[in-house]
């Protein structure tokens, strides 16, 4: 199917679910891309995974009660995030073990709840792997509104999040409420995950959070650029993924994730400064001139010495 056919389908009133799915996929991948930058930089991918699983019982309850899936997922996800944050104050059990405990427990609870609903097998698949059909209009507004709130909070608290990411102890000594900032960040991650569940599915949602941000990290050493690139990569992957899924009749969540993964691999190989192949090419071209080589890590030998001697006086 050509791209113009895809656009025709998007505008076809009989296929109204298609533009809705595109809108939700793009909105949620933008939000996930931005929030994912913190997740990647703080190394809290496992928390993202936990939250993604934790929203499942909420969705199951909402499904059984015929309520809003987004709302049900949000309640369960936020509750689990708070539980992890509170339990992790006791340092006898480490955070990753707690996450392990709660994410599986929440997922188990979800499975038990949803098995009570008649004909659950089909819906189960929809939750786990995502779907582009059957998105109610109110979810469109819910996702858009929630996304704006998330981005607003990120903008408002960016300076504080960065300070805590860099150095928790110093942030405490400055009087920043580190515990509460952690909770807000957990809740933001949860909400970003929940609004992405519809199209991408419960299992794959982590990719929307991590992959674009990780690819963006490879492409730049500037946080502001990274936080623009990640949502861009996410939105592009969502659009291309939906197109490929529609034209080849593949599962939408899986296709979007594979597109994003392809972008990540390309960045890993060809990123201007940190790419594997670019570094190799530069080494061959530059004959190992130290001044130009700014590979990650402390500068080697001469470059470092030069900077030190500069300030000797």
């Amino acid at each position: 199917m050509s791209i113009s056919d895809f656009i025709t389908d998007l505008l076809n009133p009989d296929l109204a679910f298609l533009p809705k799915a595109l809108a939700i996929a793009v909105m949620s991948s933008i939000v996930c891309g931005v929030v994912g930058c913190y997740v990647v930089l703080r190394g809290m991918a496992f928390i993202g995974d936990a939250v993604a699983h934790a929203v499942f019982p909420g969705i199951a309850v909402a499904f059984v009660l015929q309520g809003s899936l987004v709302l049900g997922g949000a309640v369960a996800g936020v509750a689990t995030a708070l539980l992890i944050a509170i339990f992790s104050q006791n340092r006898r059990v480490k955070e990753d073990s707690l996450i392990g405990v709660f994410l599986v427990a929440a997922f188990a609870l979800g499975i038990v709840i949803i098995s009570q609903a008649p004909g659950y097998a089909g819906s189960l698949q929809q939750f786990l792997f995502g779907s582009i059909t059957g998105i109610p209009d109110r979810d469109l507004y819910l996702v858009g509104g929630t996304g704006l709130v998330i981005l607003g909070l990120v903008l408002a608290l960016h300076k504080e999040f960065v300070a805590v990411c860099l150095d928790r102890e110093m942030s405490r000594s400055m009087g920043l409420p580190v515990f509460w900032l952690d909770i807000v960040l957990y809740v933001l991650v949860t909400l970003a995950v929940v609004i992405s569940l519809q199209t991408i599915g419960n299992i794959l949602v982590l990719a929307l959070l991590i992959t674009p941000a990780a690819a963006a990290r490879l492409l730049t050493d500037r946080l502001s650029v990274m936080m623009l690139l990640a949502p861009l990569i996410g939105a592009a992957s969502a659009t291309v993924g939906l197109y490929l899924s529609w034209s080849h009749d593949t599962p939408v969540g899986g296709t979007i994730v594979l597109v994003a993964t392809a972008v990540f691999l390309a960045a890993w190989l060809f990123a201007p400064r940190h790419g594997l192949l670019t570094r190799r090419w530069r080494r061959q071209a530059g004959n190992g001139s130290l001044a130009d080589d700014r590979s990650p890590g402390p500068p080697s030998g001469l470059a470092g010495m030069h900077d030190t001697t500069e300030v000797v006086r």
């Binding site: 150095d167 928790r168 400055m174």
Partner: protein, 247 residues
């Protein structure tokens, strides 16, 4: 008024006594080395001064007032490994992050904030590298970024936790000179260190700590070997004593 007064400070961690009856004063212009073995409570003392942990007994006064996070004029320079060096951020932004608490919620850095960051970078001679990502700096440069971040708050007290660890001798000497001149510019500087030679060389005063203050005085006054063997729990023939005497 003294920059820092600590009176009869007791601190327990996990039910165990870590600091007992610690008393010490710090004046502007002093560079004081806090020495002691691992587990002596050096970092705990710094955290108590920053009011980050609950004390069992005693008082910490910063410029005459009880210490409070974000309110007291203390610049904190943690150990280098506390900082996330692979974060995609430039030197000047890293230094600016030290002002996040002072700028306040929902506000962006203003002219005054950038001026403070510029002055701090000038002071540690990193102005030429201010746009460099922090991950590309050498160990000595990283230490100076952390010092600049603390200086960006224009503190009257500077707390340095193990600033010399993992650095070569020329870099240590440079940093030692920097700390001396920072103290001479009307600041009180307190640093923990395992580097006895550098400490004896640079500091105006040494405090030997092992849960209690064992000794407190000018390096020249701490010749008694017994003080050192008691603090560090080493034998009378330990090379540590030769080291201190030689320095």
């Amino acid at each position: 008024m003294r920059a820092l007064e600590i009176e009869q400070l007791d601190v327990d961690l996990g039910g165990r006594p870590v600091l007992r009856d610690v008393r010490l004063n710090l004046d502007r212009g002093e560079l004081v080395g806090l020495l002691g073995p691992n587990g002596a409570g050096k970092t705990t003392l710094l955290r108590a001064i920053l009011a980050l942990i609950r004390t069992r007994n005693g008082r910490v006064l910063v410029e005459g007032r009880p210490a409070r996070p974000g309110r007291s004029a203390i610049g904190y320079v943690p150990q280098r490994h506390e900082f996330t060096w692979d974060f995609p951020i430039s030197v000047e932004q890293a230094v600016m992050s030290g002002r996040a608490g002072r700028i306040g919620l929902l506000r962006r850095p203003g002219v005054g904030d950038w001026r403070a960051v510029g002055d701090a970078l000038d002071r540690v001679q990193l102005t030429g590298l201010r746009r460099r990502p922090v991950g590309e700096l050498s160990g000595g440069q990283r230490q100076r970024v952390l010092v600049a971040r603390a200086l960006a708050l224009a503190p009257s007290i500077l707390l340095l936790d193990e600033p010399f660890t993992g650095l070569d001798m020329p870099t240590q000497e440079l940093l030692g000179d920097l700390f001396i001149s920072l103290a001479q510019e009307d600041r009180a500087v307190l640093m923990t260190t395992h580097d006895l030679v550098a400490a004896v060389d640079a500091c105006t005063r040494l405090i030997l700590l092992n849960a209690r203050v064992i000794a407190d005085g000018r390096p020249a006054d701490l010749q008694d070997a017994e003080l050192w063997t008691r603090t560090f729990g080493v034998s009378a023939t330990s090379p540590l004593l030769t080291l201190v005497k030689a320095a």
